[in-house]
């Protein structure tokens, strides 16, 4: 009896004591490594950017002329371009993205059909960005060009719509980015809508609310922080997108009010100029990279914070 117990203990004990330990080390190492690599990237970019940081200081952020051959570096046009394309993308993607999320979280369609639609929308996220770029060149650019010609002729006196209209423009990049961030908005919004407790919905119905009153009066407000988080994460993605934007935006460093004017973003600037850069230009590009990393990290932190806040809030009701 006693020996039996001991041997059983020996086997089970050894397995349960040793194996999880190794496993724990491996996973811990992976987790620490990813944090370490993030810090390392930041540090390396910072080191490379140092000469430009020292020489241009904060004037780098407000300067509006980028002339590598004159060692004049001001990143303002690219900051504006990054912000403007991301905002256009969100304005265009948020209404349909939210509509799709609501549609998929209600029982308008039988479950398999809903799952299929969800799958298709999420597939949009799987398309490589260079393919979006090519699609933009062949489809969106001609469309925006003719829309631009028509609009600038009639409403050219409004600064936002002033001409001449270009196919490679801020608006073109914004439209394609909208499509690229749509799955992010839909997926996260949908899961926060689904997470709204049944009891709330039933309560609304019990008080005599119609389906749409329940959606807009109870479900959407409860899920709102999740939708905000989805929007912020989409903003982060839109700001960092490189390839498709570089192919579509017209890569200009001139500041313009017009939606139909070529522009540039921080990411497209890096993609365009890094390969052939030397000397101070490398430092200036690294400084621009640092600004971009800081921007996207801030945005992602904000998104994450809001998402946590939602979870905590709905946890109480659940």
């Amino acid at each position: 009896m006693a020996t039996e117990k001991a041997s059983a203990d020996g086997i089970n004990g050894a397995v349960s004591r040793r194996a999880p330990d190794i496993f724990r080390w491996v996973t811990a190492l992976a987790a620490i490594a990813s944090a370490f690599i993030l810090g390392w990237i930041f540090w390396e970019v910072f080191q490379e950017a140092k000469p430009a940081l020292e020489k241009y200081g904060l004037g780098f952020l407000t300067g509006s002329s980028w002339q590598p051959n004159r060692d004049r570096y001001g990143v303002l046009p690219f900051l504006v371009g990054t912000g403007a394309t991301a905002i256009i993308a969100l304005l265009l993607a948020l209404p349909p993205g939210l509509a799709i999320a609501i549609f998929l979280s209600e029982d308008f369609l039988p479950r398999p059909a809903r799952e299929f639609v969800r799958f298709v929308v999420e597939l949009l996220a799987a398309i490589p960005s260079v393919v979006y770029g090519l699609w933009g060149i062949f489809v969106v650019i001609p469309l925006i060009q003719s829309l631009g010609n028509w609009t600038t002729e009639r409403f050219g006196h409004i600064p936002l719509l002033s001409g001449p209209a270009y196919g490679n423009s801020l608006l073109t990049a914004g439209v394609v980015l909208a499509l690229m961030v749509l799955p992010t908005i839909t997926a996260i919004s949908r899961s926060s809508l689904v997470a709204v407790p049944r009891t709330l919905r039933e309560g609304a119905y019990a008080l005599g609310a119609t389906r749409w009153e329940a959606i807009f009066g109870v479900i959407l407000p409860t899920a709102a922080p999740g939708v905000v988080a989805a929007t912020i994460l989409a903003l982060g993605r839109a700001m960092g997108e490189t390839m498709a934007v570089a192919m579509l935006i017209g890569n200009s460093s001139r500041l313009s009010w017009s939606l139909f004017a070529p522009s540039g973003t921080l990411a497209s600037l890096l993609a365009n100029q890094f390969g052939e850069a030397s000397g101070m230009q490398v430092a200036a590009l690294m400084y621009a990279a640092l600004v971009l990393v800081a921007l996207t990290l801030t945005v992602n932190f904000a998104g994450e914070a809001v998402l946590r806040y939602t979870e905590r809030r709905t946890a109480g009701i659940r």
Partner: protein, 333 residues
């Protein structure tokens, strides 16, 4: 079991088979990549023992790789500055290996053989001339139906040797351009739209009527773009051809360091915007076999290799340049 082992054995045998005796790796400019890669293929057919691998990573990256010593040779459209050459631990020798021209390609229906004066060319890229029927363009093109449409300028958004050569010429012919824009591998044009790479600019030109942009001759040829004849220093309008390019190259005297640009050639039959493209070699190679293979390969490129130039859209080097390049090649050890 045997069935399974047989292909495996063949595979390991293939792995164990002697590798080509000599591998040469080079990296650099994208502009001459097609001709260098052609040399590599053709030379390998003649001498299977030597395998040359050229990666077109851009002139800037080519110089970087060369200075880091991770390649056997580099290549650059902008040669190397004295400062850069001083940084090379094993010395540096510039060998002009091929040449090409930068052309002004445009998209205007019904307009063939557009002529651009020096003032018109600089004016367009400064944004001062913005309509196709501007008097400065019309005056040089009597009888040509130029539309009253806006001129859409296309430029390279990525840093490139093509931009370097083009802006260097513009800065030489127009003090105003020199003042406002200057020249480099990436500059900021006051007008227009940027496309990434020759293919990006070509797409911009093809897609939008009324667009003009600068690309390498080979690209314009492949894509059947209309190209403009440019006014050269002696006042004649010259279309880009292998002959007019050769005339431009022949008009400059190669200096001791073999680094020169025909920025604004004087000869009346010379096309104004041409450039050499250089191979970057080390002054010293430790491996004698590698040195010999490299010398043989470059010699092949400078002699037989020049015959591929015209077909690929390049300009064959003038004999005088080949002689000097060969002399430079024999100085490495």
């Amino acid at each position: 079991m045997k069935k399974f082992l047989l292909p495996l054995a063949a595979f390991t045998a293939a792995l164990a088979a002697p590798l080509p005796a000599q591998q040469l790796s080079g990296a650099g400019a994208t502009f001459p990549a097609p001709i260098y890669q052609r040399w590599a293929v053709e030379y390998n057919k003649q001498i299977p023992g030597i395998q040359v691998n050229y990666q077109s990573v851009g002139s800037g990256a080519g110089v970087k790789n060369f200075l880091q010593g991770v390649v056997d040779f580099g290549a650059s459209d902008a040669a190397m500055t004295d400062e850069e050459m001083a940084k090379s631990p094993r010395g540096a020798v510039l060998v002009p290996a091929t040449a090409g021209s930068v052309v002004l390609a445009y998209n205007l229906e019904g307009v063939a053989g557009l002529k651009l004066t020096r003032a018109a060319l600089a004016g367009i890229f400064l944004g001062k001339i913005n309509k196709w029927n501007d008097p400065a363009i019309v005056a040089a093109n009597p009888g040509v139906p130029l539309p009253a449409k806006p001129i859409n300028v296309a430029y390279r958004s990525d840093g490139s040797g093509t931009t370097f050569v083009f802006t260097q010429h513009l800065a030489a012919i127009s003090p105003e351009f020199d003042e406002e824009v200057g020249f480099d591998k990436s500059v900021t044009f006051p007008v227009g739209v940027g496309g990434k790479g020759n293919e990006g600019v070509t797409a911009l030109i093809k897609q939008t009527p009324g667009t003009i942009g600068y690309v390498e001759f080979g690209y314009a040829q492949q894509n059947k773009l209309s190209v403009a004849a440019l006014e050269n220093k002696s006042g004649s309008f010259v279309p880009p051809t292998p002959e007019s390019g050769a005339a431009a190259l022949a008009s400059v005297e190669m200096p001791e360091n073999l680094r020169v640009w025909p920025i604004d050639p004087e000869a009346p039959e010379a096309y104004p915007i041409t450039t050499f493209s250089w191979l970057l070699l080390y002054k010293k190679y430790d491996d004698a076999a590698k040195l010999k293979a490299l010398k043989d390969f470059v010699t092949y490129g400078l002699t037989e290799g020049q015959s591929f130039a015209v077909e690929l859209g390049y300009i064959p080097l003038p004999e005088a340049v080949v002689a000097k390049a060969n002399a430079a090649l024999s100085s490495i050890e």
